[in-house]
């Protein structure tokens, strides 16, 4: 009895002591709910450091602002709200003035032009921390390439704040479309990611489909009906020289895509009414058959490390997605939802697959993990198809076609969260976009 009383007393003492211990030290709280909203930033016009750089300075700041706002992750505070201005690139920042307008990031820059050389330097400040975020950077290039330098500034700002790579200094190759549906003219075009600097690579004499950038961004694979039936061509962007990838007579080859190394092309080939997936060494022209089933298997896409591929097949009776070793073998089905899945594209991060889904008369662009889990539909419309990933794996571009005889196809982009769905500015209609890697 006495022992019990003593033990109970000891337990109580320990409990009290523990409580006292818990009360010591800092106050601890856990925050699990935040807000998701664009981060407000301010970009005063860059400072011209040479006489003829005035307009360039204004334009550079405008492009930087458009890049950041266009990502959906940032919100620009208009210049009309500024309390103070930046008159000297090296002058100390009046943080209080920027805090007052709730600018959480401040971007200052300076521009100088010397002949055909353009120099751009910038600094990024964390206003509420009262400190510079990273160190200042400077870019040099040609005057004609001023937009690229603006994109590079945007990429640096984006990367420092979000912690992931940017995608602004990149290009997109796509099929430019003009004319009515029954007589649509198609030609290859390449442009900056934001629709600027459009350049046409082919004429509209023959139908072209599914252009794909090489890992280095200097070549393009595409399918053309120039010979009357689909053949795969390789085009050098710089020289606009092209050559056809050899294939046997009586066959149709299409849906090409580069391997991560850039030395191999994976594509679909139809022979005798059967469509399977093949690879071809670009240098030697030797091909290897990866699948051999009576089903239609196409739209292959490599994983970032090149060890696996994802493709679509109707071997199960309906169009579904499969993952397989890049050297062939047994394929594993990863899509099990309602509807049909197609045009899978492996994310540059390697964690997701983007796809086109058709279900109940609607088309969707969606993403899922490699095991088929966490399927997320990002869009829904009459016809959405052909997703392509931004270099940072955060944004997807695709083609959307409107309904009716007067309908047209145009390019759209959307964040993988499903936010920030918006059209991409193109001079004409567009389809089959393919995003390039970041430019050097």
């Amino acid at each position: 009895m006495i022992l019990r009383v003593v033990s109970i007393c000891l337990a109580l003492i320990c409990a009290v002591a523990g409580t006292a211990q818990a009360q010591q030290g800092p106050l601890r709280i856990e925050i699990t709910e935040g807000v998701i909203e664009p981060l407000p930033f301010a970009v005063p016009s860059f400072q011209p450091e040479s006489g003829d750089a005035g307009q360039m300075a204004v334009d550079l700041a405008r492009v930087v602002s458009e890049d950041l706002v266009g990502s959906g992750l940032f919100r620009e505070i208009p210049a009309s709200a500024f309390i103070s201005t930046v008159s000297d690139f090296n002058a100390p920042v009046q943080y209080a003035d920027w805090k007052a307008i709730n600018a959480q990031a401040l971007i200052t820059g300076a521009v100088s032009v010397s002949g055909n050389t353009l120099n751009v330097k910038f600094r990024l400040y964390d206003v509420f921390s009262g400190a510079e975020l990273g160190s200042g950077l400077q870019f040099s290039g040609t005057v004609d390439g001023w937009r690229r330098m603006a994109h590079k500034v945007s990429d640096a700002v984006y990367s420092r704040i979000t912690g992931e790579g940017g995608y602004f200094d990149s290009r997109v190759v796509y099929v430019s479309e003009t004319g009515p549906k029954d007589n649509r003219q198609k030609r290859l075009a390449v442009m900056d990611y934001d629709g600027a600097n459009v350049r046409y690579l082919t004429d509209s004499a023959s139908i072209v489909l599914a252009p794909r950038f090489s890992p280095t961004g200097d070549r393009i694979l595409y399918t053309s009906y120039e010979s009357g039936f689909p053949r795969i061509y390789v085009l050098d962007i710089g020289s606009v020289q092209r050559r056809v990838l050899e294939s046997a007579d009586g066959t149709m080859s299409f849906a090409p895509r580069f391997s991560p190394s850039g030395n191999t092309v994976i594509y679909s080939l139809t022979q005798g009414g059967n469509t399977d997936i093949y690879t071809m060494d670009i240098g030697s022209g030797q091909s290897v058959r990866l699948t051999n089933t009576p089903a239609i298997e196409t739209a292959p896409s490599y994983s970032p490390d090149g060890s696996r591929i994802v493709f679509e097949s109707d071997r199960s009776g309906s169009q579904q997605l499969y993952v397989m070793s890049a050297s062939g073998g047994e394929a594993q089905r990863i899509s099990f939802g309602e509807g049909r899945y197609g045009t899978p594209v492996w994310s540059p991060r390697g964690d997701l697959v983007a796809f086109t889904k058709q279900n109940k008369g609607r088309f969707h662009i969606g993403v899922m993990r490699l095991d088929g889990s966490e399927e997320r539909l990002l869009t829904a419309s009459f016809l959405d198809e052909g997703p392509t990933w931004a270099p940072n794996g955060r944004v997807i571009m695709f083609a959307r076609e409107t309904q009716g005889t007067g309908g047209s196809s145009s390019l759209y982009s959307v964040d993988i969260s499903g936010r920030n769905l918006k059209p991409v500015r193109t001079q004409e209609g567009g389809s089959d976009p393919s995003w390039s890697p970041l430019q050097n």
Binding site: L27, V35, Q104, F128, I161, R349, R376
Partner: protein
């Protein structure tokens, strides 16, 4: 001593023996009683009847046999009736007479109750057939037909749109710009994504509601922390001094009390300044602080990896409720790389500074409790789903 055992053992042995050999004492089954029955022919029966009329002694034996006779009647009955009828009151002939009579029929009617065979009637069978005739499928067809009108409705919509242009053109221009965004949103089932940004402004509106309260303490604190902020308004510097002095007295008293309670003389002097003093914060006060920081914790620009990273941030506070920005440090992280932790920490630090720029609403008399705060920012619920 063992008497009981002996008795018990004997009893058990006896019981076992009885069970084993008890059959010996089982009474023999009673033998069947056999009775011999002699079959009499009609001639013998007549002779016996004739004898019974003269001599009685044998009648007993005969009577004793007669009762079973009727039991066996089924077969002999047919024969006996003819013989018995002339002889009279024999009970046997009686049953024969009823055969031709109708009365037995009514008895048969009792068999009719067997008619309750109604189960056979099972009128229920009819209802089983009936349901087939139910015209429910017609209802199913109807809704499909309703779907067709949709295309016909379009012209109406067009007409309505034609009417809208009448509205003020200049105002419509502004709406047209906004219309582009809604179209994007409406095309998405991803309405959850659209809801998130809508929720943001609601939370961002919270801080201002709390900020107005800490006016007096701010002045006092501004005096204590003149260096960090260029705000030091030379206003009521003397007033703040007495206020902070009061809590100090309390802390000393509490420290002394703790020292006495612990019984140590050396210890109380050291832990007193480090240990939190004053009454503990109530759950409501903690929740208020948590919500205030949450309102400024913007994870919208964080990378996917940073959204998987939990960071623990420590900060020292001024008495006016503002954080000492140079004391905000990352004390721990989990779930992501060092770079991701750095990004997550930046977002956390911005949250602490932004919403604390005017001072968090915290009780001054409990300053000892919240002088040092450790905040864990867990973005698990904020991830893309």
């Amino acid at each position: 001593m063992h008497t009981g055992h002996y008795i018990s053992g004997a009893g058990h042995l006896g019981l076992i023996a009885f069970l084993l050999f008890g059959g010996v004492f089982r009474p023999d089954p009673e033998p069947f009683e056999m009775q011999e029955v002699s079959v009499l022919s009609a001639a013998e029966f007549d002779a016996l009847v004739a004898a019974s009329q003269s001599a009685e002694p044998p009648s007993e034996a005969v009577q004793s046999e007669t009762p079973p006779a009727p039991a066996e009647t089924p077969e002999p009955e047919i024969q006996q009736p003819e013989l018995i009828e002339p002889e009279a009151p024999e009970p046997d002939p009686v049953p024969e007479q009823p055969a031709p009579t109708p009365p037995p029929v009514p008895e048969v009617s009792e068999a009719a109750p067997e008619l309750p065979e109604p189960p056979a009637e099972v009128a229920v069978i009819a209802p089983e057939v009936a349901p087939v005739a139910v015209p429910r499928p017609v209802d199913r067809v109807a809704p499909e037909a309703v779907a067709q009108p949709d295309p016909e409705a379009r012209p109406d919509v067009v007409e309505q749109e034609a009417a809208t242009p009448d509205a003020p053109a200049e105002k419509v221009v502004d709406e047209a710009q906004e219309a582009t965004a809604p179209e994007e949103a409406t095309t998405e089932i991803v309405t959850e994504a659209a809801e998130a940004p809508k929720a943001a402004p609601n939370q961002s509106a919270r801080p201002p509601a709390r900020r107005p309260t800490p006016p007096a303490p701010q002045v006092a604190e501004a005096v204590e922390t003149p260096d960090p902020t260029p705000k030091p308004d030379p206003k009521p510097t003397p007033k703040p001094d007495p206020k902070p002095a009061e809590p100090k007295v309390d802390t000393d008293a509490v420290a002394a009390a703790l020292a006495e309670a612990l019984g140590g003389e050396d210890k109380p002097a050291k832990p007193a300044p480090a240990a939190p003093t004053g009454p503990p914060l109530s759950s409501g006060e903690k929740e208020s602080l948590r919500l205030a920081v949450s309102a400024c914790w913007n994870v919208g620009s964080l990378s996917s990896e940073a959204l998987r990273t939990t960071v623990v941030v420590s900060v020292q506070m001024n008495q006016d409720g503002t954080p000492q920005t140079n004391t905000i440090t990352l004390t721990g992280s989990s779930g992501g790389s060092q770079a991701a932790a750095g990004q997550a920490f930046e977002a956390a630090r911005r949250a602490i500074i932004r919403c604390g720029s005017r001072g968090y609403q915290l009780p001054v008399d409990k300053f000892g409790q919240w002088q040092n705060i450790e905040m864990t920012f867990n973005p698990e619920r904020m991830r893309i789903k």
